[in-house]
Amino acid sequence: MSELIRPGYDFHKETHTEPMVINMGPSHPATHGTVRFFLTLDGEIIEQIEVEIGYLHRAFEKECENQFWNGVFPYTDRLDYTAAALNNVGYALAAEKLIGITVPERCQYLRVIAGELARLSGHYTNLGAAALELGALTAFIYFVEARELVWDLIESLCGARLTHNYVRIGGVTADLPEGFAEHAREVFRRNRELWDDFAKLLLKNRIFLDRMRATGGISRQDAIEWGFTGPCLRACGVPYDVRRAQPYLVYGQLDFDIPVGETGDNLDRFLVRLEEINQSIRILEQCLERIPPGPINVDNPEWRQPSKDDIHRDMESMIFHFKNTFEGQKIPAGEVYQAIEGANGELGFYLVSSGAGKPLKCRVRPPCFALTSAMPLMVKGAFLADLIPTFDMINLIGGECDR
């Protein structure tokens, strides 16, 4: 004891305390989507954080340059794989804007249905995973059940559970199967029950509230400056939604609300997403009610697959089909940017065409890239444990961020 109080004694120097540098990820259970955090910790406080992305880089943009215009669709499925149909829709809208065609109304409704189902699946995954990582495994299981039911719907419509490959330039591949509306209503009834149970388990839970509230917050000004979009921006109180700001497809004719938060912390982001699930179900119910009969592809042989009967019976159709498949559809030269509201925010496609059968450039504006880049701003000075809910609510999807 006497040594401790001797003059000139420096506690920190003698005990060698210095910031600890640790790696979190790339294969940490909470860093889903494969991302690495390089943390400098002072005790439990984060002093510095570096986010390293790129572990899931699959050269999406380069790969697109080697595919025909329609062949890109399976690759867009793998961008945000929790909400695959939304990526399909975004790419198709961009390509159609470049061509200058509008799809028939029934096709627009079908795209909205597929897109909103995908948004549901994306939100269920994200909220369930967020609950799981804060220790609520039961809530996760309930939302996985809800997602399974939504996937059953998607499967009967698109033909696959995860990688739908549903939309084509100038239309969609398949019409609604028989009994889809009844099946959907049954699913929504069950999903509402599960939503209630999920909300009841978490929203009055002291532990959950303490970990979500006032963590990972960002001010409205900062959020706009860092290019936030989607639920994370709306949680700050900015009512920006591409569906509302620049309505595409038939969103302008539908009745729904854009949920907005106030403070921009993790709890607001969570609640905004939770409410968006309800709004998506509202949109889907309206769509199933209002969907008009009619064709699901454009009436222009250049921008659609010929039907099998045409190919079998008609020589010209067959020749044209061979030409289209071997050379690709020739989209006129030009460039275009088209944004849609993805599950995470503004999902933009920037396409450049040289007039050939393949894209010259297909650039994606992933919403979670901007969100991830603001991670240091949100977690610096916070506890290490606050990193987990913040990262969950950012909802980094490796496939989309790294491409």
Binding site: P74, E155, G159, L201, D255, D257, Q305, K308, I319
Partner: protein
């Protein structure tokens, strides 16, 4: 515009009753126990042979399998016509349209002049089940079957299917062929533009 703005209420305050822990724990347990009981009785009804009444999500896989919906895209297979010959004419459209380039065809010719695939190789390890081959095929010769079980193997080389492993009799695939023939229907034909 009918798109409104809805404010979410993040100002969740816990009352004294809710802060007392025990009532909240009982409420939470009520929810989880309700799910547990439903699942338990789902199992019991199963044992009593009333499978239609079950309310559980899980499937006992090897004993019980799911039937995928008609639109489902399983393993691509070649169609063997009623006369025992493959319908494929080795035109190569599927080879070109396949995004991961997993199909390799070498064409041959029969004595009567009909073309047929000498070899048809489909690399199941590369296939992404997108269905483009089925969509572009002008002869309904390759379709996506409903087969999804036991496609995994202990090596990539064993996933390469040769022509014999891919051929399926047409009568088993007739439903799928009818389905894809009903697609892209009801629109005008080629109108002299190339």
């Amino acid at each position: 515009m009918a798109i409104g703005i809805k404010k979410v209420d993040s100002n969740i305050t816990l009352t004294l009753w809710e802060r007392m822990y025990a009532p909240e724990i009982i409420r939470g347990l009520y929810i989880t126990m309700r799910h547990f009981t439903v699942n338990l009785w789902g199992l019991a009804l199963e044992a009593l042979g009333r499978r239609d009444k079950r309310k559980i999500m899980t499937v006992y896989y090897p004993e019980e399998t799911l039937t995928p919906p008609p639109a489902y895209r399983g393993r691509p297979v070649l169609v063997r016509a009623e006369n025992g010959l493959e319908k494929c004419v080795a035109c190569g459209l599927c080879e070109v349209a396949c995004p991961p380039k997993c199909i390799k065809i070498t064409g041959g010719e029969r004595e009567n002049g009909d073309r047929y695939p000498l070899t048809y190789e489909l690399d199941g390890g590369r296939c992404i089940f997108c269905g483009f081959c089925e969509e572009v095929c002008p002869k309904d010769a390759i379709v996506m079957s409903a087969e999804w079980r036991e496609l995994c193997e202990y090596g990539r080389a064993r996933m390469v299917y040769q022509k014999e492993a891919l051929l399926y009799p047409q009568r088993n695939l007739q439903k799928r062929i009818n389905l894809i023939r009903s697609r892209y229907f009801g629109v005008s034909r080629y109108r002299g533009k190339a």
